[in-house]
Symmetry: C2
């Protein structure tokens, strides 16, 4: 906890333009979420968090009622077999799509600060989510160690302005090398991915302009 | 974290017969859950934990594959408006009941160590859960501060042997007094609830024997 606190403080001091997202997957009762929100947003001074939807919008109020902070709701997670619950059929569509609709709706997104977590490992589902939540930022893990591909993610996930997705890679960067060059290797891997993202984004937007 | 560690150690040393359940509501990817399971079961030496079902059984494997530990899956939570997602209709029944069925089934409960969280605030739902999961231990929060009543919980929740529910009260006990008598007041409140539980259990089982 101390290392995390120091890391967040260092990042804010040196790179104030980079938002800090704690992938904490919180999801408790309202009174407990109140304490979690204070810890994450006030103590660690994170800018965003990931949350479980299962207890509903009212329980999540302490996160959602922070207009200056973003809460990314778990929607279609990148792990294998995440379909078990997430693709259960509710009202003619999969559960994850119902959650995307709720999260984009006027109750959950009353402050315009809700996002969705949708894995790169299921790119066509990402497209279905983008269709029902055209303006929500999408947090997209699963590129790198989990095997998700960049091109379909950009193709399905970029919003009308060519923005709106945050691609996250963890293990492929922090474990890029286990030797003494680990820092340099991580930097190289991150720069490589950043460049690929930028190039892919341009290609997708060019293609869209043509059709 | 240090206070929690010391509390767990003290409880194990002085009351080894009392299981420790960390209501941590964990629910991450498999590799992260692996670290959470180590923290909860090995570092804190807790006997049980609460988990979110949304990522599915495979992601929860690090919890489920601890035969000597119990994982209570969030099913029908006690908070207001928990129906928003939990009562969504899937395959002819509410989502929470589908989760109860999965949790009781051969994949999730492969080691016979799965339980369900089902709030005292929705006692008839507790009865429906008991019907599809006749042998699972039910963790029942919501008695006390949240206004759940004991009698319907025992009536709907006790299994065929008159056991199988763990009733949890937190705020009504730990906040029983904010004066210098807080410890004595908490003890009194806990003893009072324990007695009411025991008496209610006897009454329910007597009634069952008659019909």
């Amino acid at each position: 906890m101390e290392a995390l606190k120091r890391t967040c403080a260092w990042l804010h001091a040196h790179y104030p333009e980079i938002p800090i997202l704690l992938d904490a997957k919180r999801g408790d009762m309202e009174n407990t979420n109140e304490a979690y929100a204070r810890a994450i947003f006030d103590y660690y001074e994170a800018d965003a968090v990931t949350v479980h939807p299962y207890l509903g919008a009212k329980a999540l109020a302490p996160f959602l009622d922070r207009p200056a902070k973003t809460s990314f709701v778990l929607c279609r997670t990148s792990n294998p077999d995440s379909a078990e619950l997430q693709e259960l059929e509710v009202a003619g569509g999969p559960l994850y799509l119902k959650i995307a609709r709720l999260a984009a709706g006027p109750e959950w997104n009353r402050h315009g600060n809700v996002g969705l977590v949708t894995g790169a490992t299921y790119p066509t589902d990402l497209g279905r989510i983008r269709a029902v939540a055209p303006n929500l930022p999408l947090l997209v893990p699963g590129i790198g160690a989990q095997g998700g591909e960049l091109e379909p993610v950009l193709n399905y996930g970029l919003d009308a302005t060519g923005e709106g997705i945050i691609i996250s890679a963890s293990r492929s960067i922090i474990y890029a090398s286990s030797g003494p060059d680990f820092a340099e290797a991580a930097r190289r891997e991150a720069a490589h991915l950043a460049q690929a993202m930028q190039q892919g984004q341009q290609e997708v937007m060019e293609k869209r302009r043509k059709f």
